[in-house]
Symmetry: C2
Subunit: 202 residues, 2 copies
Amino acid sequence: MFSGAQISLYPMTGDFVGVITSALSALDPYRERLRIETDDVSTLLVGPPEVLFPAMRDLFSAAAGTGVHCVLSATISRGCPGEPDDAICQSGQFEGPLAALSERQASALDAVRTAPDMGVSSVAQFSLYVMGQGDHMAEIYGCIDFLKQSGTFEKSKHFATKLSGDTGALFATLEQGFCRFGPPEGHVTIDLTVSANSPSAR
Amino acid sequence: MFSGAQISLYPMTGDFVGVITSALSALDPYRERLRIETDDVSTLLVGPPEVLFPAMRDLFSAAAGTGVHCVLSATISRGCPGEPDDAICQSGQFEGPLAALSERQASALDAVRTAPDMGVSSVAQFSLYVMGQGDHMAEIYGCIDFLKQSGTFEKSKHFATKLSGDTGALFATLEQGFCRFGPPEGHVTIDLTVSANSPSAR
């Protein structure tokens, strides 16, 4: 199953190029397990979710750790029927039958509880889309139930859910939402915004 | 049908607050036809697509017209079954039976051809999601056919399509993609990034 993300990092400073360039070294531990391509709008990361989410977490944490107001925006996708398969995306976690929703929610909560502490606070706003089946809202409501128990839930907004907390717990929550809800071989996407150091933050 | 967007504007400058504040006056002509709510991550615009897209276009064009590298990121949605209806969203364009795909493509092309020239060049990258039906990819491929003839198409990317041109034509293309594909009462969303003045642009 093809999976990956188009990501962009926006440091709100005249030295945005410098902040981006210095944060990029945070991707080094992941480079062998990702295919990476950059243009003027975004950087493509192709790889399995268990590599994608930690890579995005470390990149964003490095940029946000400078203290500059930074935003990471990402379009994350798995199982798009229009995308060719790629060996680098291989992951064991989507095999076998779909477990009951309550069981998946419990596993997701465990993963968030054991997430590393990155020492960087931020907020995340995201929309989860489950496509190509009639009852897509059931899986989305199941995911929202998990989010409300995750410890990172801040509030529901129109079209999106807002989380807040340490980037370790945040990206673990996002990874669990992405992997455990919707059919294992289905087409699932996340539209994500992560923000740190905003002067508007309350 | 409920419709709207969560939008964020990212000027890559230390004076990002100033650029955002001065661009906000571009929304003034639309304020009576939109419900607007802001927090530290995004601004919610609730209203029909024929108001939403011109409002986003004028806001982004005002910010990008400063010459600063600016990005507008938006999560745009219509017909989400989890959202209550709102009188401000009323629009005549989703009534009646769904026309043939070729007819919708022709109307969409006409709308892009007659779009105003804003005098601001930019690029747009977006993903269109059509949910809750088995053949969602047919509508997406129909939209891609339209995009390739629109004059704004630049390239297909993994998970997204990239457009380039004047912001007038770009936002007209986006509005047509959003309104004319997928069932009239269906749940359709766009994950959008618009960028101008990037030093990486070719």
